[in-house]
């Protein structure tokens, strides 16, 4: 897939709560094809501590308005700088990058997102809907505060929630959700994005039932286009780049 580099106009910068915000970015050309699971490399306005671009998943694609949406959690200087972008300012993106989740032609699938790992799942859910695949989404977080925009999924899939403190949905980790009882067997494929320990726990559980599990890794990146080999993940076929051969991997291929 061809990669592009463009200045996107900030059309909206909506805080979700004190830690999360959504950027609405208008593309200066007609948006090229974008697959679920792909990401962008964002150039943060240069300061000595934000020299490199920041990789951010594509949260949603609005073809009517020709916009890309990014869901971002403030963790350090780069993401904080992005949170203070004003409407009308421009943001330079290299996009769309990486492979994508595989899209089946039928069946029932489960999408699991932990914390900001939920970011790639919305566009995936939307995409699956157009392919008539029945999707369910399980969203996990520490508390209500980390369960972001779960209403947005409702047009596309059934929504399940867990929080560590039980403040929303079922109490516990995603792997403790009741879906992982008998019901898990009825899924044909599981997609996960979140902290590594969560992805490992989910894939181990799911592999037991021989259900294919796709995980989206968030390795540290420098170039984002396969030029530096900084981001590789060890697989059974040697090191693979997370930015080009990933970020989505079949859990069985990874040496966790």
């Amino acid at each position: 897939m061809a990669k592009f580099i463009h200045d996107f106009k900030v059309v909206e910068n909506l805080p979700v709560n004190k830690d999360y915000f959504v950027l609405y970015l208008e593309c200066p050309i007609q948006l090229p094809p974008i697959l679920p699971g792909q990401f962008v490399q964002v150039q943060v306005h240069s300061s000595p501590t934000t020299y490199l671009r920041r990789p951010i998943s594509i949260y949603d694609v609005d073809r009517d308005k020709n916009q890309l949406l990014l869901l971002i959690k403030k963790v350090g200087n780069g993401t904080k700088a992005l949170s203070s972008l004003k409407v009308g300012e421009y943001l330079n993106l290299v996009y769309p990058l990486g492979n994508s989740f595989s899209i089946p032609h039928s069946g029932r699938v489960l999408l699991i997102g932990g914390g900001v790992g939920i970011a790639p799942m919305l566009y995936l859910a939307k995409y699956l809907k157009t392919k008539n695949v029945e999707a369910h989404v399980l969203i996990g977080g520490k508390s209500t505060h980390d369960i972001i925009e779960c209403d947005k999924y409702k047009p596309y899939c059934e929504v399940y929630i867990t929080t560590d403190d039980g403040s929303l949905g079922e109490k516990g980790l995603v792997t403790q959700h009741s879906l992982f009882g008998e019901q898990i067997k009825f899924y044909d494929r599981v997609y996960v994005c979140g902290p590594n320990p969560m992805m490992i726990a989910v894939s181990k559980l799911v592999e037991k039932y021989n259900i294919p599990c796709e995980v989206s890794l968030e390795n540290m990146m420098a170039c984002g286009i396969g030029a530096c080999l900084c981001c590789v993940a060890p697989t059974h076929e040697g090191n693979k780049t997370t930015c080009v051969e990933g970020p989505v991997f079949n859990s069985k291929d990874l040496k966790w």
Partner: protein, 303 residues
């Protein structure tokens, strides 16, 4: 429009802008962004005699105005390069120079010999920052004797252009430059990364799995500029300057310090278009300063 052609030994570059090894893949990664043939040359990522998986993760850390990397020369080895990569890159109409590395002198020779017949590979760049296994892991490039020995051995089997890329992690870079010049190096690249380290105070752990790594980016530019200036005064072969170049002004500074051409590395990660912007900026600078030929600028520092 000034004349931009420069000469590195036998190689006539259409302009002095090249890419730095390990930061530009094989060029193919940039095909979507611009016509790679516009550049004076591309330096591929390191090529070694055998497949190398590289170092453990994490391999990179961002540091003020730069980054540390410990990629560890990951590549599939010279045979794979010849069979699978060369056929994809021989389409380019610019100099393709392969960065050669290994842990033994025989390894360097083997790679050079296998690259020799490839028509579109017009030269090699010896990366002598690699640890020498026989000498107990000290980098070849940190002593005059080992640096000279690698150069001499490769010179014996390779008769196209040999560029030797110097390590800045030495007390006297000029003596190493002279030692490799004496053994037949045709040009020098100055500098490779500076050894550095990053610590996460919260976890009290090193950030990189390898603990130390190579520093690159704008943070190293003043050191690189000083070394290019010192080396280019001391040798008679052309020097290719690199280290932290991010815009045309940086590039001009390296030319003034004595570099005949320049390479751009880490800046490609920040702006994939940077090489083209530097090229256009050099043109603009020449017009603004009434420079008719870029060669007027080389070593043109006024005191």
């Amino acid at each position: 429009m000034a004349a931009l052609e420069v000469k590195i030994h036998d190689l006539i570059l259409k302009n002095p802008v090249m890419t730095a090894s390990g930061t530009y893949g094989y060029g193919l990664e940039f095909d979507d962004f611009y016509d790679v043939n516009r550049l004076g040359g591309i330096l591929t990522k390191a090529c070694t005699s055998k497949n190398r998986d590289g170092n453990a993760m994490p391999r990179m850390a961002e540091t003020p105005s730069g980054m540390l990397n410990s990629v560890g020369l990951q590549n599939k080895g010279v045979d794979y390069f010849v069979e699978h990569i060369y056929p994809q890159i021989k389409k380019y109409n610019t100099h393709i120079i392969v960065n050669v590395s290994d842990s033994t002198i025989d390894g360097y020779k083997e790679v050079a010999e296998k690259l020799m017949p490839l028509e579109k590979i017009t030269g090699i760049e010896l990366n002598i920052s690699c640890p020498n296994v026989k000498e107990g892991g000290m980098a070849f490039g940190t002593s005059c004797d080992t640096a000279a020995a690698v150069t001499k051995a490769v010179r014996g089997v390779y008769n196209k252009t040999i560029i030797v890329k110097l390590s800045p992690n030495v007390t006297d870079i000029v003596s190493i430059a002279k030692a490799v010049e004496a053994e037949g190096a045709d040009a020098l690249s100055v500098i490779n990364t500076l050894m550095g380290m990053a610590i996460n105070a919260e976890t009290r752990r090193p950030v990189l799995a390898m603990v130390t790594g190579g520093l690159s980016g704008p943070a190293v530019k003043p050191v690189a500029l000083r070394m290019v200036w010192q080396v280019s005064k001391a040798v008679d072969i052309p020097v290719i300057g690199l280290g932290g170049i991010s815009n045309a002004t940086d590039a001009i500074e390296f030319l003034l310090a004595g570099a005949t051409a320049i390479q751009i590395g880490t800046a490609n990660f920040v702006d994939p278009m940077v090489c083209i912007k530097v090229l256009e900026g050099i043109n603009e600078y020449c017009d603004r300063h009434g420079v008719k030929d870029i060669n007027e600028l080389i070593g043109g520092l006024r005191y």
